[in-house]
């Protein structure tokens, strides 16, 4: 469903990567083989469960260490360390909330991991940049750079005729109804529009787009205009489904995520998997077209939404304040 770019050549002998690899071993060996000592060192309760967590973290560190030292292009392994740091910070955060061990030691451990996180991110960005070459300095990107572009495709069958679905899709201002990342699309002329989207971690991005292909009832294609900050293109084809099942929508989206491969990786860490998000967006569109609404549950009050899959609310009714919050941002229908 999705593909992201692989980095090109990075320095295999990168000293910073080497240093981080040594850190992985220095932590991984005691974590795996002396989990109890490590638990006491960082001030969490030394019970059987925490020992297993510590050992699992240790094995992860050792894997990253081996990866960094054996892979000619260690950028991916450095990013694995970033993911690991994020997990460790979450674990330490929950240990701090539990208040069962030594707070001071846990705070110190959190500080150390935060430092490692910063070092990992800096090195990851550096290596990924080196791997991707110097980027495009010109500001003119006729096609999303194949090295950095994310391509996602998805198909869905909707029990409606294709003219109706074409009309729904051709009205770009309705995109935010079903595309969870979009805040607003404003039509600026017959073929141009201005888009405003939510990026990961509370960022907002804006760009202008133009329609590049438009065959009523059959297909629509669009792309960001030259010089846009976020370079992207998309197309949808409407194909009659066999039997009386309605219409198949085949959607293809390509974009260079903000901050390149780094941005894509961070977005994934926060549950923004583009392939799943596109499929969920299409489910929302299907629901609007077939039922007139986007069904909402207590666990997923916004309707189908990729990032919500990892962060379900409990299945009991929302209190009024949460409900109001969801109705004003991102709630559909």
């Amino acid at each position: 469903m999705s593909s992201t770019s692989k980095p090109g050549n990075a320095a295999p002998q990168d000293p910073m990567a080497k240093g981080l690899g040594i850190v992985s071993f220095a932590l991984g060996i005691p974590q795996t083989f002396a989990a109890g000592h490590m638990n006491r060192l960082i001030g969490v309760k030394d019970n059987a469960r925490n020992r297993w967590v510590m050992r699992a973290v240790g094995v992860r560190e050792l894997t990253a260490g081996v990866g960094i030292f054996t892979d000619r292009r260690p950028a991916g392994w450095i990013w694995a360390r970033v993911a690991g740091d994020t997990m460790d910070l979450a674990l330490l955060g929950s240990a701090l909330r539990n208040k069962r061990g030594s707070q001071t030691r846990t705070i110190a451990a959190t500080g150390a991991v935060a430092g490692a996180f910063a070092a990992d991110v800096i090195d990851g960005v550096r290596l990924s940049r080196a791997a991707n070459g110097s980027g495009n300095g010109s500001g003119h990107a006729p096609e999303p750079e194949p090295e950095q572009a994310v391509q996602v495709t998805a198909a869905i069958t909707v029990r409606r005729d294709r003219d109706e679905l074409y009309a729904l899709w051709r009205d770009f201002e309705r995109f935010p109804d079903f595309m969870a990342h979009l805040e607003e699309v404003r039509t600026t002329d017959t073929t141009t529009s201005h888009w405003k989207a939510r990026g990961p971690l509370g960022t907002t991005v804006q760009w202008d787009a133009e329609i590049t292909d438009d065959v009523p009832g059959e297909r629509i294609a669009w792309r960001s205009i030259e010089g846009s900050k976020i370079d992207n293109a998309g197309s949808v084809r409407f194909v009659p489904a066999p039997g009386d099942q309605g219409t198949e929508l085949h959607v293809d989206m390509r974009y260079s995520p903000p901050a390149g491969a780094v941005g894509a990786t961070i977005a994934k860490l926060f549950g923004e998997e583009p392939a799943i998000q596109l499929k969920d967006d299409l489910r929302r569109l299907k629901s609007i077209a077939e039922t007139g609404e986007i069904v909402r549950s207590d666990g997923s009050p916004e309707g189908p939404l990729g990032r919500r899959q990892l962060k379900q609310r409990p299945a009991h009714p929302l209190p009024d304040d949460e409900l109001a919050d969801i109705s004003t941002n991102g709630g559909a229908s």
Binding site: T157, R159, Q245, G246, I276, K279, D280, R283, K286, S287, E290, T291, G292, E293, I294, V295, R296, S297, D298, G299, S300, P301, E302, G303, P304, L305, G306, R308, Q309, Q312, R313, P314, A315, H316, P317, L318, P319, D320, L323, S333
Partner: protein, 390 residues
């Protein structure tokens, strides 16, 4: 309102939670008059169903009175007495158009989670984990019912709650178990499990024209109910060899249709065999204890139908695919498409062809839900079905 909340394995309690509200124009709010604990709730209670969260309200068998409707609901009005089907279905997608309501393509907002577990999604289900939508359930004072213009059936006669409540799940589920077997005159049907779904599968097999129905269980009180209320001949698998008795009773052919009403927590009379599946399940090497299903497949007549109504969640070890393939068995299964059975089964009840209230053994206040789960789980006090009154 008060609601039965899951708070981890083997732990439910009645808590105060916010009242449900209309979230979509096709919603309705039901004030619940009766609700039941389902055998499949026990799989959640026992912690075998993934994607449960602490704080989830349980319950998918409920009925009551409409107290509020969304703007698009025109077929129901405040004060109507309704039974609510456990699957949530939009009525407008291709699955609903084919009558496959439990496969509704629009009612599960967590379809991408379900897709990871099962390859594609099912419908949304009340109070039944987040893979089926993360909907609050009906073991509560009130429930929000999405697509209320499609699901709930109005009860306009003066039948009691207990006579119509089981239209929400166990009666249609048992009925579908028999219906998919395409029963022909002279057919002998065997039913594994004499819980509520098993009892209704037996009764439904007769309604659909079976010659004989043989029921298999190990609890004498459940076998007695199957004999006396549903009309089955019975086998206690702890006392006799199921295979030998079935062969004897069917002239060596095997039953024409075998219905599994047991599901993923099957028991085996031989300690070693039971331990094998139990250990593999506990260590998560499989999610199912499939002994009842294996036995149903193994004993079915060559060319016959195996109908699976017991709940399964993931992956089973030692699935006897060789028997299925070489002996040309047909497997039929699915969460029940309740919507398509509501009207015909209500007609059966109204005509007096069946009175589903025979399965009720325990009536409790909603506040005793925790006690109800324990009684039902451990089959204490000859428990078959617990009805809770909010």
């Amino acid at each position: 309102m008060r609601a039965t909340v899951w708070s981890g394995r083997n732990k439910v309690q009645v808590e105060n939670v916010p009242d449900p509200k209309i979230l979509n124009a096709r919603d309705a709010i039901v004030k619940i008059s009766s609700t039941a604990i389902c055998g499949s709730d026990l799989h959640l209670y026992d912690g075998y169903v993934p994607t449960m969260r602490k704080g989830d309200i349980l319950g998918h068998e409920f009925m009551g009175e409409i107290v509020e409707t969304g703007g698009e609901v025109t077929n129901l009005k405040v004060g109507d007495r309704v039974v609510v089907p456990f699957p949530i279905a939009c009525g407008a997608c291709n699955a609903c158009a084919r009558g496959l309501f439990s496969l509704c393509e629009n009612s599960n907002p967590n379809a991408s989670t379900a897709e990871k577990l099962w390859g594609d999604s099912t419908c949304g289900i009340f109070g039944y984990s987040h893979a089926t939508g993360g909907y609050a359930g009906g073991q509560a004072e009130y429930a929000r019912v999405p697509f209320a213009d499609v699901g709930p059936i109005k009860i306009e006669s003066d039948l009691s709650d207990e006579q119509v409540l089981f239209l929400s799940d166990v009666f249609p589920t048992g009925y579908m178990g028999a219906d998919v077997c395409d029963i022909k005159p002279g057919d002998i049907v065997a039913v594994w499990g004499c819980g509520p779904v098993g009892q209704f599968a037996i009764a439904s097999a007769y309604l659909l024209g079976a010659e004989r129905v043989i029921a298999i269980d190990r609890f004498e009180y459940r076998l007695k109910m199957a004999r006396e209320k549903a009309g089955a001949e019975t086998i206690n698998y702890e006392q006799t060899s199921v295979r030998e008795v079935l062969r004897e009773m069917t002239g060596g052919r095997g039953p024409d249709a075998c219905i599994d009403c047991v599901g993923l927590e099957a028991h085996h009379h031989h300690g070693g065999m039971y331990a094998y599946d139990r250990v593999k399940q506990a260590t998560r090497m499989q999610t199912e204890r499939g002994y009842a299903l294996r036995e149903a497949i193994f004993n079915c007549r060559s060319g016959g139908t195996v109908s699976i109504m017991g709940v399964y969640g993931g992956f089973m070890d030692k699935f006897p695919i060789g028997a299925v393939m070489n002996r040309g068995l047909t497997i039929k299964t699915g969460q029940c498409h309740v919507h398509r059975y509501l009207r015909p089964l209500l007609d059966h009840i109204e005509k007096g062809a069946i009175d589903p209230s025979f399965i009720v053994t325990h009536r409790m206040s909603l506040d005793d839900a925790s006690n109800g789960y324990e009684t039902f789980k451990h089959k204490q006090d000859e428990c078959v079905k617990v009805v809770l009154k909010p």
